[in-house]
Each structure stands twice: as C-alpha cells, then as structure tokens.
C-alpha cells in the first residue's frame, strides 16, 4: 500500500516580521515538520513562540524568509493565493466584522476562490446553485442555518465563530487551519467547536491544524502536538509524548501538574497553587 501522503511538508523554515530589518529576531526559526493528511495537529507554546506565524505561513498569508513549504507535494510559494484557498481554509482569531453583512452572505464569501474569473464573471459572479448548496451544507454542519438572515455584527461570540468556520468549510478545503478557535468562548461552546472539528476530521478526513493556548484542549483533541518555544520546535509527538512535566517546565518555565483525564486517559495539565 502507498504510504499516506503528507498534507504539508515544511523544511528548514525561517520567518520574521519586516524581513528588511536585519537584527529582528526570528518569529519562526528552522522549523521542520510534516502534517499528515487526515490528522489533527495542535500547535502549542508560550506567548510569542511563533504559533500564529507558523499557521499564517501554512496559509500563505505571510511568506517565509527562507525554507520550503509543500502542500500535497506542490510548492506553496509557486501557487497563487486562489489556488491555495481552494485547498486550505484559514480561521483567524479576531473576526470582528466591520460591516453588517448577513450570515449567509459572509458564509458565501467562502466560494470566492472557486469562482471563475472571466470579465463579467468576476464582476457580478452571482452565487450559483452549487455555491448556495455548499454554503447551506456548511451552515447546517456548524448549526448556523437558522441565523442566515442575521447580521454578522449582531452575533454572539460563539455564533460568530461558528459562522466563520462555516465560511471556511464553504471553501471545500482539504486542510483547515484554525488560530485559537476557542479563545473567546465559554465552556459549552468550546466543547461544541471541538466536537464538530473532531467529527469533520473523522467523517470527511479533513486535515486540521490548530493553534491553541489551551494545553488541555490540545491534549484531548489533537492526534499530534507541535510545541514551539521562541520560534523553535521544542517537541513534537503524540499528547502522551509531549505533555510531560519536564518538557512543559522547560518550555513554559513553570512547574505544572500532569495526570490523566478521567475519561480519555490522555494527559491532563493543571497549574499548581503557587509559583515557587
């Protein structure tokens, strides 16, 4: 049997903001990694460790200084934004809308990379039946179908996050990149987003890469975890291999308690009562 193809292969990746200025420290430094097709990869690490930068590199939102990224075997650098957007959807952390588009309109924006760019097509590109069907399907999956008429400016945090993920699914991507998908959500909505992501992964084989601050969430929901520190890969592996007290101590500079989750048996991380 053919070995499973990798969604991403990243080789000796370097990146910093404002690459013109020599002397700025690297946001991402000599990162090598493979993202297997069909897995959920969690990227964790302290503040400023380059998690979001790495995710944006994978989405081609920013470009590497040096190094190579391939997406399903093809160079990301030589692909157009539109080509990338047909395969990779990105869910940003801050989704504060500026204008009162309806939820349906926002979700339909996910069809943009699939539109034909003929002269008139690009101007008025009316949403085809297929576009609407894909958008509606995504909205049902994310449970926002009943909000179709509502303005995105009037949604609650959880509803807005679901609408944005629905937009990402409307891109019909093979890879879903999420930046802190549960950052501003309460417990119930966190669980909801995570179980939907898990279901999408299991049923549709969607490859998911998510950045998370929440070590427990990453531990429970990710197949593999990439731990970054100062833009360098500190550890990569299954939750069992990565979520060890000595590794966490080295990366976060703080002693933590690790036991196992009563349901899943996966590592569970707890903060001690005080810094010592």
């Amino acid at each position: 049997m053919m070995p499973q193809q990798n969604a991403y292969e990243v080789r000796s990746l370097f990146f910093r903001y404002g690459s013109a200025h020599v002397g700025t420290s690297w946001a991402v430094q000599d990162v090598n990694l493979q993202v297997k097709a069909g897995e959920i990869l969690g990227i964790v690490g302290p503040n400023g460790s380059g998690k979001t930068s790495l995710l944006k590199l994978l989405a081609k939102i920013v470009r590497p200084y040096t190094g190579e990224i391939t997406l399903f075997g093809k160079s990301l650098e030589s692909a157009t934004h539109r080509e990338v957007a047909r395969q990779v959807a990105f869910v940003p952390q801050d989704n504060q809308p500026a204008f009162s588009f309806s939820v349906a309109e926002t979700v339909l924006m996910g069809r943009f990379p699939h539109r034909h760019s003929s002269f008139w097509g690009s101007a008025f590109g009316w949403d085809s039946q297929e576009d609407c069907a894909v958008a509606q399907q995504a909205m049902r999956t994310m449970d926002v179908a009943h909000l179709a008429h509502r303005s995105v400016t009037d949604l609650s945090g959880g509803e807005r996050q679901r609408a944005v993920i629905a937009r990402a699914l409307t891109q019909a991507p093979k890879v879903l990149l999420l930046d802190e998908p549960t950052a501003f959500l309460d417990l119930q909505h966190q669980l909801e987003i995570c179980s939907i992501l898990r279901a999408l992964n299991e049923e549709r084989g969607l490859t998911i890469v998510m950045v998370s601050h929440d070590l427990n969430l990453a531990s429970q929901h990710c197949d593999r975890i990439l731990m970054l520190k100062d833009g360098v890969v500190a550890k990569m592996g299954s939750p069992m291999d990565v979520m060890l007290p000595e590794i966490l101590q080295a990366v976060y500079g703080c002693h933590v308690l690790v036991d196992s989750h009563p349901e899943s048996g996966l590592p569970r991380i707890t903060l001690p009562r005080q810094l010592h």
Binding site: K56, F112, H146
Partner: protein, 379 residues
Amino acid sequence: MTISPSQPASSVSDRASSPKSAAAIGDVADFRKAILTMPRWLSVMATLSTAAIVLTLVCLQMGTQYVSLAEVGRIIGRAFGVGETGANGSSITDTIVLQLRMPRVLLGFLVGSSLASVGVILQALLRNPLADPYILGVSSGAALGVSLAVLFGLGGMAWLIPTLPIYGFFGGLLALLVLYRMSATYDRLPVHSVLLAGVILNAIFAALIMFITSIMEPNRAFGMMAWLMGSLTATADQTLLALSIYLALCLAWLFKQVNVLNILTLGEEPARSLGVDTERAKRGILMTAALVTGAVVSVSGMIGFIGMVVPHAVRLVLGADHRLLLPASALVGGMVLMTADTFARSVFAPSELPVGIMTALAGGPFFIYLLVWRKDRLA
C-alpha cells in the same frame, strides 16, 4: 440551538439530519432571501435608474426661470430631433435648459456618483464606515495638487482638461498613502484614529493651500477660493465629455472589483486566505480612488460628506454587499448632489450658494449623529 453536552462527539451527519436542521434543509428559497440575488439587484437598479432620470428632468425645470415638465420634455425631444421643431419654441428657454442647466445637472450627477463610489471603496479598504475622501483629507490633498499646478501655471486653458486631474491625482494619492500606511501598521486602526489622521492631513493641506492663495495675485486667488468652496458652475462641454469618459472608465474598473471589495472588508489577512491577491487589489483600488478624487476635485473643488453619508444610508437600506452597494451608491450619490446643486442655485436665485457649503451643512450634522449616537454601528 446547542449540542447536548452529553453527546460531545455527535457526528456531522447526525447534526445535518437532526429535526431542527431538517426544517432548514429544503429552504433554498429562504436562504436566497438572505443573500443578494440577481432579480433583487435588477429591480433595485431599475428603480434607482428611473428615479435618477425623473430627478434629472425635475432639476432641469428649476432655476431662476421655472420651466414646465412638458416644456423640458419638448426641448429635450427637439435636441434629439424628435417632435415638432421650431414653430413657437422659445430659443431662450432652449438655451437655458440645454446649455446652462443640462451640463451643470449632468456634472452634478457625475461628481456625486464619483464621490459616493470613492466613499464606498475607501470604507471597504479601511474597514471604516465613516471614511470619506473629504473627511480623510484625500480631497484636500487633491486640491493641493491642483493649486500647486495652478500656481506654477501648469493648468493653462488648453491643458485644463487633461492635466489638472493628474496633479489632483498625485495630491490625493499622497493623502491615501499616508492613511493606508497608518492603518496597515496597526493591523486595524480604530475608527476614530483614522478620522483623527484625516483631520490632521486636512489641516496641513488646508494650510498649504491658504499659503498658495495668499501669494497669488488677488483675482486669481478669488477664483481659487470660489473653486475650493465646491461649485459646479458650468464647465466647457469638452471638459464635461472628457471627465465623463475618464470617470466612466474608472468606475467601470471599480465595478469589476465588487467581489474583491466584499472579501477585503474581512480584513487583509483573511482576504488573502480566501484567495485575494491583496497587494495587487489594494494598489489598484487606492490608485483608482486617487484618480477619481483628483479628477472630481479639479473640476468641482471640495464637496464633502457625499462619500460618507450616501454609502452609509444605502448600506442601511440595501445591505452591505458591494455588488449592489457600489452601483446603488453611485446612482444615489449622483441624485443627491444634483438635487443639492439645484437648491444651491435656485433658493437665492439669481445669486447662488457654493454647493460644497450645502453638502457640508447637511452632511456634517449627520456625521456627528453617527459619531455620537450610533457608536454601535462603528464596531
């Protein structure tokens, strides 16, 4: 609707076939009501176009001498060689309607459309619902460019048509680049910071323009002041024709970008992840905004608030989708300025007000209203 916490791993297909979602499945019609569709677009645009034509005729009636609608119809008919010719048609009325009022009404429409369109695209690009070429200092940048050209005698009569808009373009572009640089540096600037930047730019440009007028000979300076206050006093027919072609080309290009504008309102990074080449799109849109503003300012001076008020009102009524917002704002903007100018020249006839004063007096309070009482709308 929420997931029951007891089944955290509910599957995607389960959810799709759950009873509550099932109600939504067949509802393609319902979904279509939540988005912009071609029939809705056509009906809105047809209504607005009809309104624009009717309003043009009404504006042609108004002025020092009132002309009946039937008479306006006959005169226009005659001009196109339709209907009875000559007989008892008074040639003075013909001249008034066709040569005095018509160019001015059309210029008003053109300038209003352009300003509203620039307002729409600046609002989308800066993700700021209060953006307006006048408030942000783009118009005064363009005015500075034009003033400099006039000062150095670069806008001679023979060259008036092709060159002045170009100096306006450079001035406007300068202001836009400063503004855009600011917004880009801070990822997304708060609405009020962008406005503040506009205030400062306006102050700087206004000071420079004042300086230029102060060193000019008095009668040229007087003409300059009159132009700066914003007026649509009749320009030569060739100017109008050249301007129409020029603006039509720019607006046509902008209408091609409507889908990109929709995506850009999400912010630059999300737009890039949706497949928009944001660098190219931004460059094109900023250039066109500067080109249009430069041209408009070079003929009609500083006419403010159309670019802010009109898109705002149209968005409230018709929704935020730029496929409709841009052309509808262009039509409404044209109508608003045409009407404002008709008032400006009829209310105190035979003397007239600069139309820029009219729009500022009407638009300014609306702006304050939005700023103070509708904070919720400003995200």
